[in-house]
Amino acid sequence: MKRLESTETRKKVSQAATKGVPSLFLFILLITWQVVVDQGIVQKYILPSPLDTIVTFVQILPGLKSHIIITLKEAFTGFFIAICFAVILAVLMDSIKLLKKAVYPLLVVSQTVPIIALAPLFVIWFGFGLLPKVIVVILVCFFPIVISLLDGLNSVDVDMLNMLKSMGANRLQTFRILKFPASMVNFFSGLRIAATYSIMGAVIGEWLGGEGGLGVYMLRVKHSFALDKMFAVILLIVIMSMLLFKGISLIQDLLMPWHKLLNKNIGRQ
């Protein structure tokens, strides 16, 4: 019994240690970076130090409010429209096999077209307003959601489908009771990826011109060689994307309480 306990504690300690590894690694990296800049090995105007970045971040954050709101608005609008389109298309593709055969390859090919090359075209076509940015966000978010939802709908247990069929379930019932809930795990992985892409997509869109937003701000500070501000905005984008990622995970936990329990169960075994 005692031996069991000691292995238990050892396991816990090693688990805690493993958890600390990424933070420790990041910390070492940051320290090295700081030292390199402080010692003048790399000049400050070429590469701002982590500490400078954080100080600048705190300084400029209040003034960035309007830019943040614009970027978030673009990202959320695009993300939301992408979800709607993706769900509709995935459901259609799943229920009409011919459509899937026709569209799937096209979807994959479309992803090989570099967005950064397309984005200027959107500016030409749709101007400097909200629309071209939202389109960029839709384009980057759409794909991971469609593919993950399609995979989910496709991976439903055939025996479960047959069981419902034997009970006389119609297609709509099968979809509602089995197929849609069964694909939720995949759907949410797609959503998490798409959510982090959405901010990036908006920034790319803004980078090509516009009245406001973090991308526009970055362009301005780049032109004035204020690299510390540039880095501060990058930090801000990372934080925003991470928060969105976490937010999607939280929604998933709320909507699918069983999923968390299941994972815990697997972890225990």
């Binding site: 479960m160 047959n162 069981m163 069929k165 034997s166 009970m167 006389g168 809930p181 999923h259």
Partner: protein, 260 residues
């Protein structure tokens, strides 16, 4: 359990099925009477599951018909359901909601459906597990829930396709006694697929022994062992006599594979 010979619940008449070039069922006819427990015994791959798929209406036979209470149900789903070796419980639904699926399919609301199944949890020994998720239950308990769901769909006829095949020997033997126990209170006819001779003899009133693929009925055996049955019956002379007979039936025509 007394068998009412006059009340024919299910009859399968001369069904045949070929998938591509492989003949799976050559000629199978069988009957199931009210409150009767009948087993379909055959080696793996002998086409037993295809017989079930045809009875439940999922697969259309090439020839032959399926009658349920005198009505032709060939190729029609929605009358009898079956249970598998896999429990097929949906991990995102609580046990009570899994069990209530048949009522959801009949167009009832979630609350109403729950109300309908609630009382059966005690009968099936699942009391206290209503609000649990499938993965929180043991294999045996999950199979109980799967059986309850099947019972909720078609109370008079249940098709069980090796339902205990995935359980360990001790749990399986416990499930046998549990099944016979609850069946005393339920007026239901059961068609049971298995490749386990002892399981078939212990549970059944009648056994159809199937040939190898393509399947046909080799022999129909009436199990005249007294009921209710206790575990120790498996060591009696009568039990072993039946078992020996079935073994010799299954070995026929494959001497080269028999061990010496």
């Amino acid at each position: 359990m007394n068998t009412c010979r006059d009340n024919l619940k299910l009859s399968v008449k001369n069904i045949k099925k070929t998938f591509g070039d492989t003949a799976v069922i050559e000629d199978v006819s069988l009957e199931l009477y009210e409150i009767e427990f009948v087993s379909l015994l055959g080696l793996s791959g002998s086409g037993k599951s295809t017989v079930f798929n045809i009875i439940s209406g999922l697969v259309m036979p090439d020839a032959g018909e399926v009658f349920i209470e005198g009505k032709n149900y060939t190729g029609k789903t929605g009358r009898v359901s079956y249970m598998y070796q896999k429990d097929l419980l949906m991990p995102w639904k609580k046990i009570i909601d899994n069990v209530a699926i048949p009522f959801l399919l009949k167009g009832q609301g979630k609350k109403q459906a729950r109300e309908k199944v609630k009382d059966y949890f005690k009968v099936f020994g699942l009391e206290g597990f209503e609000e649990k998720y499938p993965f929180q239950l043991s294999g045996g308990m999950r199979q109980r829930a799967a059986l309850l769901r099947t019972y909720m769909f078609s109370r008079d006829i249940m098709l069980l396709d090796e339902p205990f095949g995935g359980l360990d020997a001790i749990t399986r033997s416990k499930m046998h006694c549990w099944l016979l126990g609850i069946l005393e209170n339920l007026k239901t006819s059961i068609l049971f697929i298995t490749h386990d001779i002892e399981e078939a003899v212990f549970l059944s009133d009648r056994i159809y022994v199937l040939s190898n693929r393509p399947a046909r009925i080799k022999e129909e055996i009436i199990i005249d062992l007294p009921k209710p049955r206790e575990r120790k019956i498996v060591t009696t002379e009568n039990f072993n006599r039946i078992k020996r007979h079935i073994l010799s039936l299954l070995d026929e025509g494959e001497e080269e594979n028999g061990c010496i």
